[in-house]
């Protein structure tokens, strides 16, 4: 730990933001370097002065003021947000259902042709469990359960 590193970490040391090892190195540096030690002590004095500022808390009227501004709109806002979320989710489910229906239709009509990215999903795994080619029964299972084809590797 040199003076530059010590200075760079000084505030973090004062604010107790450092882990044990760096703290130890800084403290060892303070023992060896009077300049850095003096710098630390002057900062500590400031921190103690600023930290002594003891403001009174919020007034007892703060909640009333918040409640007044929210009023009935506060509760309605919450319900409106929930309704928006449900509508958004419903829209996404409908879109997903349309995609699945379209894929089923294409497979049934033999038009299914997975894009390159989706072909990559049905990969022949490498390694000692690698098959020479996918078995027909495996492909049949995949066709019957199109959701397995939506997973990305």
């Amino acid at each position: 730990m040199n003076c530059t590193a010590c200075e760079r970490n000084l505030s973090a040391y004062i604010d107790d933001q450092l882990d044990g090892e760096i703290r130890r190195q800084i403290e060892e540096h303070f023992d060896a370097c009077a300049t850095c030690r003096a710098e630390y002590e002057s900062h500590l004095a400031v921190w103690e002065a600023v930290g002594s500022a003891d403001h009174s808390g919020a007034s007892g009227d703060l909640w009333s003021a918040v409640e007044d501004q929210l009023g009935q709109a506060g509760q309605a806002t919450g319900i409106e947000d929930l309704a928006l979320m449900l509508r958004g989710l419903a829209g996404q489910v409908q879109e997903l259902q349309r995609s699945v229906d379209e894929m089923r239709r294409q497979m049934e009509e033999g038009e299914w042709n997975a894009p390159q990215e989706e072909r990559d999903v049905i990969q022949i795994p490498s390694g000692r469990y690698r098959a020479a080619r996918p078995r027909a029964s495996s492909l049949e299972q995949l066709k019957d359960n199109p959701l397995t084809q939506l997973r990305r590797s």
Partner: protein, 191 residues
Amino acid sequence: MEEHADIGLIAACQQGDGRAFRRVFDLYRDRVYGLCRHMAGNEHDAEDWAQESFVQAFKGIGSFRAEASFGTWLYRIAANCCLAHRRRQRPRFQPLDEAEAGGGTVPLHRQATTGTDPERQLLRKELVKRAEAAVAQLPENQRLVFVLATQMGLRYREIGEIVGSSEDAVKVRVHRARKRVRDVLKPYLDS
């Protein structure tokens, strides 16, 4: 240890439960007000800014997601509220040179000749007032992180999430703020 809002309480707020709103307010009132107080420099503005922060948070609570902690999310709203107000208004603090009561640069703690406790308390109050004025003179981005670190006691990582900076950037900014405040108070501090 400070208490935090759990996910069930937040969910109740998102469904418009008024009692949940009150509970969340009670949990965070002092911390949000404390932040606003340090940023505003006076109690009147602090009350207004804290009120505005809570109203914004409760109105937008439907958009809260669990990626960050609720406290971080709330402090970010309060911090942005404070910064927006600060940019719109002129600072109301009393500049240090106008606060001079005579005595030049003689350390405050040495001005009392008798050293009685009430006098020392008065001098300490004066030092605290000067420290607050020094903090009030910091650039807004330094003041915010300095307050969050030294007054709110938040971790630098969380402060980074609030202000949108890296932990290292927060560390540098806090240190620069600390140095500026120290340099202003140096004539009045006992080495």
